[in-house]
Symmetry: C2
Subunit: 337 residues, 2 copies
Amino acid sequence: MKTPQRRVTLQDVANHAGVSRATASLIVRNSPKVAEKTREKVLKSMKELGYVYDRVAANLRSQSSTTIGTIITDVGNTFFAQFLLGVHQELEKYGYTVLLGTTFDSLQDQERLISTMLENRVGGILLCPVSSSSTETVERIKQLDIPIVLGIRELPDLACDYVGLDYQAGAYTAVKYLLEKKKHKRVAFIGGISDSSTWQERMSGYQRAHEEAGIPIDKSLIFDSEPTREGGLLAVEKIMKHPEPPTAIFCFSDLIAFGAIIGLRKMGYQPGEDIDIVGFDNIPEAEISYPPLTTISSFAQVTGTKAANLLHQRIREPVRERQRIIIEPQLIKRESS
Amino acid sequence: MKTPQRRVTLQDVANHAGVSRATASLIVRNSPKVAEKTREKVLKSMKELGYVYDRVAANLRSQSSTTIGTIITDVGNTFFAQFLLGVHQELEKYGYTVLLGTTFDSLQDQERLISTMLENRVGGILLCPVSSSSTETVERIKQLDIPIVLGIRELPDLACDYVGLDYQAGAYTAVKYLLEKKKHKRVAFIGGISDSSTWQERMSGYQRAHEEAGIPIDKSLIFDSEPTREGGLLAVEKIMKHPEPPTAIFCFSDLIAFGAIIGLRKMGYQPGEDIDIVGFDNIPEAEISYPPLTTISSFAQVTGTKAANLLHQRIREPVRERQRIIIEPQLIKRESS
DNA sequence: TTGAAAGCGGTACCAA
DNA sequence: TTGGTACCGCTTTCAA
């Protein structure tokens, strides 16, 4: 068998079957208004010629799109991998294909990726904005009438569909648990980028829990960092050098918590015994870490599913009320606290 | 400001700048053969009108493509997430965009995804084949002259670029370590799908290590399973009910090992003390699991990078010798053995 | 250096 | 139910 040089087109199929291109087009689109006999004939020709539908050409003509740009922070980060998993599975249900982008929390990369997505004529964008995003970033997309849904991090002053978590409630639950249930007096809060809204919301939960427990906040127990394991390690090393070190640590994320655990052990502490640790996210490895991590479950996969679903709805119905879906986090008690 | 109804086209830009569409086209493509003054004028018009390049239309006309279909097994599986990370980063360097597909090891999904990729006119495909793949699956792609690189799992009798690991060597190293260094006599091998080539290669490493150590293989110590944490849990429960249970377990993957650890603990064993465990992959959570997992590092991210690089080369130079890149795994000793 | 016209592979629209 | 033809937004080719 010889490899065909040129892509087999609808015209080729039409010629082969002795019909017009227009008719062949109706058939690839499963139109009911074509005679059964004609359909069979054309279908047979397609098979024989090895025809492959050109969705790109079709989308160009019909001004439609079956791809969705999905921009996340980092696929290597399990939280986002789980989120992406949810998004991807849900979008496939509706027949979309995912065009992937990762920003590594760089604004410049985000801008570039948004451009790429627009140039590729995506039918919608699912964006987890970088921490330094401004409203303009997203306005650009809205100007072009491309449906967009924000995930994980909300941008203030932007009327946009959003799916995220109640970080405040999550942090509140975690810190309240440490202060009240575990009777800690000095609870540190480490990790994460402090200008991000997700950090600030956690901070406000941290504060509320302290207020309710009647314990004043010691600002020197608060350290931000890069949102990575390394960031957590560095932060914990700093915080434990405090003249009056904390007895419990609330971490921005599980990733930070793992870094903290490694750091504590390096410094001779027993995490979960000497120092209580609580994470945030409940990524799968929280269950099998040493010690198993007490954490706030943020249901990453479900969040992704909902975000994708929302985008799908927005695409079908562009003028509809703005939606905000906030998922309530939940404390998962394990042995690190 | 008013939202434009219709996409701004090159024609609009050309009209605005008082040049022809062809000239404007040269400018978006950074052609040097256009007068500096004309360029500036057109660039200014683009900015004013908010022009967005339509890469899809351009690719259609020029019969080119800047997207790569990347088909993996599961983004939620950290090994593949790391692999994807490597692929994605490398492809971005060359200006490609990733169209993502996940098969969950279903042949039917794989077929569907390959079709989707072809319909979307991808410039190449990076496929991690499902365990039940046959040669025909991939022949389809080669017939169409679409560059393809296989990752992680090789298909026998298929002349195709490939990037993967020497699973045999990895398994051999792990089992040899258990038999010789740790003096075990009964080493089980659990998890993974036994018809897959990746399983069989590990099996042959397991055998070779036994032969060299002069220890006969007890086939009742070998159990396959779904390649998931749950699969590992089930397999370990079965294997420990053996009248003469193993004293060490070599697991198909880290995921399986984590399942095994949970299972062992459920049954009252102390993994790493009563039973030695070795995994395979060295996913990031292996470092922070309890106990930290001794494992074979398979350098998922690097593998992804190399695969992407190979595909890029194949696209640039379609007729060139077939390449096979095999990455040598490495034993990482931790506390689970 | 710039422009006119054809064409990439489909769909839309209307007439037969 | 089928066919003819314009056209989606860009690139290509060739002439000016």
